[in-house]
């Protein structure tokens, strides 16, 4: 069936409509090319302050989510055993009445809710629903380091959210563990910012120094990479502070603020350097460089926050900004700016349940047993460590209802599936999860006719709430998610930019035509400073003894599949990873020296064993890998998730256990040790040449600039 062409548009005519990207929670502004009702291409919205016209690989692939041949188009009910993947379609009416019956029959304390993004309006609705029912607060699935980073930010800078780093206007960016340019917060924004830092100001090129154990895409792009011993990132930051303090490279205010956070004297440079595996002169050089830069900023988080001492690492990193007195300064660190429309939906101070608490409930170890689990657009079974025992715990939950567009690992275990429409088929209203220094609310109408009967998660939640009797439904007076957004905007109109002398409906119409409400200008919110004393210095602990498990595993989110969502798009599967050039599979990066020690050739199938599980994956021998460390991309290893993802590659979270980051309830996902055994030879699907295949004299990559190709030539 050919979808209807919008009125006023000719057959075959190409029209661009504004929209909001829903592929990650950052809500970049996009525009979509529509011809004859079909979506053809996505580009960035050049007026949008977050992405400024750019789109990432995942964002482009939203078209292959929309037109994916394996979407769930109608409600589904399980007919076989749970986990067999046998479902039959049923009508929305029946599905909704079954949900209503469940919601009324299960007592609220036996319910559990899992959502995908915390600050969003859908998250707010889910929270409001659990509040009105008197059920335990929902938990929101996000990369676990984000919560560690928020906690660290609260301690060191006095803000409860991810700080905004003004990279574009900085002269020196010291990034401690944070993969700014990988899939971390907003890669589109920070990619643009790094490019601007380097080439946006004629005659003034900023420098990026990356302190990270693994060669991430960010490390690869750094002007200087310090491959630090994993787990010593905080000690490195403290050593930098020691140099700045002892050599009088900072002013009094910075010193006082920093000493509120860390009253104890910093460690000696010599000892710290040895622990970090770096030369003391090198640490000193970095300290002098950052002290000399006019605009400088320290970014911290990522894998540094994924160790057991991740909170210390991140606080020590972010705390350097206090010493450098760059809070609210150009090129420094800012508090994120937001309209926070979601505050009207759930009272402030709602308790945020950590995922670990829910996992304990799922396992039946604490709290009220779960009789009804409602999952909204999230895949905890794929993204959380296998060591948390969610998979086996799920089998004891009587009723699992999932709102999803695909049979991802969690949906596969559902009893009832309520299908969601995809981003381009919905009305969207998104505030970024990690806002920049300029507030943004992306709003857009759907740009194509929906393919199936899927609905917006907000509309599904409204319908669920409204089926619950007057006590509950009174708290949900809106006829639709869009109606809710309109009323929130009306309520807040006076606070929104450009709302003077304009009536609410014109304001709303203009916002839709633009793709949202956003300002331009520079970030302006200054973080208040430390809220107390930082955590004391701790050594990182690891899961597995070094003698038995000699390698440390660092899982990472690649630009291909991200945390898993991108795995069902052929474009992303066939996109060569920028470092390994691998397509269509998972791999484990291993250093040449480790590979030769255990007799591994490139492409070989390896068995990785941790104290928590086993994994088979192919080897990529990579000269940039730190010996003793192995990296595996997240995102593959789905049980189903459609034809492009089913059974493809493996999920490194299956190796990760239940160690938590000290001082938080978040998984320490970068703390698992593994041992490696070679199973059989194999060959990877690779677009570039492998490191191993390049012999002496052949080390000439195809198409590199002439002065680089001269080696071994006639000179």
């Amino acid at each position: 069936m050919q979808p209807a062409v919008r009125p006023g548009v000719l057959a075959g005519e190409s029209v661009w409509y504004p929209s909001v990207c829903t592929q990650c929670p950052e809500g970049c502004g996009i525009q979509v090319r529509i011809v004859d009702g079909n979506a053809k291409k996505i580009e960035g919205n050049p007026t949008h302050s977050t992405n400024q016209g750019g789109v990432c690989a995942l964002g482009h692939s939203a078209l292959q989510e929309l037109y994916n041949p394996d979407r769930i188009l109608d409600p589904q009910k399980r007919i076989g055993n749970r986990g067999d993947g046998e479902f039959e379609a049923l009508s929305w009416e029946r599905a909704q009445s079954e949900v209503a019956v469940l919601m009324k029959s299960v007592s609220p304390e036996n319910m559990a809710f899992i959502g995908s993004e915390e600050p969003g309006l859908v998250g707010g609705l889910l929270r409001r629903l659990s509040d009105s029912l008197g059920a335990p607060s929902p938990v929101f699935l996000e990369p676990p380091e984000y919560r560690v980073e928020r906690r660290a930010s609260a301690l060191s800078l006095g803000i409860e959210s991810i700080p905004y780093f003004d990279v574009a206007r900085s002269d020196y960016v010291l990034s401690i563990g944070s993969p700014l340019l990988d899939r971390w917060h907003n890669p589109v924004h920070y990619t643009h910012a790094v490019a601007e830092m380097r080439r946006g100001r004629p005659g003034r090129r900023g420098k990026l120094t990356q302190v990270e154990a693994r060669m991430s895409l960010t490390s690869a792009n750094a002007d200087e990479w310090l491959p630090i011993v994993p787990g010593t990132e905080g000690i490195f930051a403290r050593a930098i502070a020691g140099i700045l303090l002892s050599q009088d490279l900072v002013k009094d205010l910075g010193r006082r603020q920093y000493e509120r956070l860390f009253p104890a004297p910093p460690p000696s440079l010599g000892g710290a350097a040895e622990e970090c595996g770096l030369l003391p002169e090198r640490i000193e050089k970095i300290a002098h460089e950052i002290a000399a830069a006019e605009h400088r900023v320290v970014v911290a988080g990522g894998s540094a926050a994924g160790h057991t001492n991740g909170l210390f690492n991140t606080v020590a990193g972010l705390g350097l900004n206090l010493l450098l007195e760059n809070l609210g300064e150009p090129g420094g660190v800012f508090a994120p700016a937001t309209f926070d429309l979601g505050r009207h939906l759930s009272p402030s101070g709602s308790v945020q349940t950590p995922m670990a608490d829910l996992a304990a409930r799922v396992r039946g170890e604490s709290g009220e047993p779960i009789e009804l689990l409602l999952v909204v657009e999230a895949d905890p079974l794929h993204e959380l460590p296998a060591g948390w025992g969610l998979a086996s715990g799920f089998s004891d939950i009587a009723n699992i209802v999932v709102l999803s567009s695909f049979f991802d690992d969690t949906t596969y275990q559902a009893d009832l599936v309520l299908p969601l429409n995809t981003g381009l088929e919905r009305f969207n209203a998104i505030e970024p999860a990690s806002p920049t220094g300029i507030p943004v609310l992306g709003i857009a109408e759907s740009v194509v006719e929906p393919l199936g009967s899927g609905q917006h998660p907000g509309d599904v939640l409204l319908a669920v709430a409204q089926s619950m009797g007057e006590d509950i439904s009174a708290a949900f007076p809106w006829s639709s998610f869009e109606g809710l957004v309109r009323s929130l905007i009306n309520e807040d109109l006076g606070n929104l930019p450009g709302s003077r002398n304009i009536d609410a409906s014109s304001y709303y119409r203009d916002a839709l035509a633009r793709g949202g409400i956003f300002e331009t200008g520079d970030p302006s919110l200054t973080p208040p400073g430390p809220s107390g004393e930082g955590p004391s210095r701790e050594q990182a602990r690891f899961d597995g003894e070094e003698a038995l498990f000699p390698f440390l595993l660092i899982p990472f989110a690649s630009i291909k599949a991200g945390h898993g969502r991108g795995a069902n798009r052929p474009w992303l599967q066939e996109l060569p990873d920028p470092m390994s050039t691998i397509m269509w599979s998972s791999w484990v990066e291993i250093s040449p020296s480790d590979a030769s020690e255990i007799g591994v050739a490139d492409g070989d199938w390896l068995r990785l064993q941790s104290p928590n599980g086993l994994l088979e994956v192919q080897a990529v021998i990579d000269p940039a890998v730190r010996p003793g460390l192995v990296g595996i991309p997240l995102g593959n290893g789905h049980q189903d998730y459609g034809r492009y993802a089913r059974g493809r590659g493996s999920n490194p979270m299956n190796l990760v256990g239940n160690l938590l980051v000290d001082g938080t309830n978040e998984p320490a996902w970068a703390s698992t040790r593994v041992r490696i055994e070679r199973i059989r030879p194999g060959e990877l699907a690779r677009f570039g040449k492998s490191y191993e295949q390049r012999g002496e004299g052949e080390n000439i990559p195809v198409g590199w600039a002439p002065h680089e190709t001269d080696q071994g030539g006639e000179q």
Binding site: V55, A57, N221, S585, V625, V702
Partner: protein
């Protein structure tokens, strides 16, 4: 006269791969699947090359987006027995799919390895086919294909200018890779127009061509990156 060209600032490029996917989406490039990818038959008109310099721990990485260089003196052209690839008056190294008989001589002679052969016809299981760009032909099995500098966008930009009774202005036309690049690393325009951004950037001391010593006269200019520049 127009000569379409591109300037790629490698100091801006981070290797994020957005351009690679943008190119697939714009140009109806098929995905070939794992087996054929392993056989070396994946078709990326635009690829990100990753080069290592030095040894761990002092190892440096450079990313280089490589696409058809639209050579002024193209090694692929004279070896085609059926004139399926030729130089247009606007400096594009064009492919006539309906002429191509699949000798693959052109790919063999291209020093940049940016030409790709359709070993099979592409497959777009329904409804994935609804995404296909109506302005770009879907290539049949047995023909060669490569970057066209998004010739359909050039055409569209020229048509639009003509409809509005004006000349094409600098920045009117963007290739798909250039438009989506989050880092603004890719600039497209007319090298013959001395006022254009590409012509200005081409004068940079950081500018160079790939494999310049081959004398292919490329239309793609790279700006070197790194602190030393």
């Amino acid at each position: 006269m127009t000569r379409w060209g591109m300037v790629i600032d490698t100091d801006r490029c981070t290797g994020c791969g957005a351009c690679v996917v943008a190119c697939h989406a714009e140009n109806n490039i098929q995905t070939v699947g794992e087996e054929e990818a392993r056989n070396g038959r994946a078709m990326h008109w635009l690829r990100i090359e990753r080069h290592y310099e030095g040894e761990f721990p002092d190892i440096q990485v450079r990313f280089l987006p490589v696409l058809c260089q639209q050579c002024g003196s193209a090694p692929c052209e004279p070896v085609c027995p059926v004139y399926a690839t030729y130089r247009t008056p606007e400096g594009l190294n064009a492919m006539v799919y309906s002429r191509c008989i699949g000798t693959r001589y052109c790919a063999n002679n291209c020093p940049y390895t940016v030409r790709f052969f359709n070993w099979h016809a592409g497959e777009w299981p329904k409804p994935l086919d609804r995404q296909l760009n109506p302005d770009v032909s879907v290539r049949p099995a047995g023909v060669m294909e490569k970057c066209t500098f998004c010739v359909q966008r050039i055409q569209e930009g020229q048509d639009r200018a003509k409809d509005e009774s004006r000349q094409v202005t600098d920045g009117d036309i963007k290739t798909a890779c250039s438009q989506s690049c989050p880092a603004r690393a890719i600039t497209f325009g007319d090298l013959e127009n001395s006022e254009s951004r590409v012509a200005q950037m081409a004068k940079s001391a950081r500018a160079s061509h790939l494999l310049e010593d081959l004398g292919t006269d490329p239309s793609v200019i790279y700006l070197q990156g790194g602190e030393e520049h």
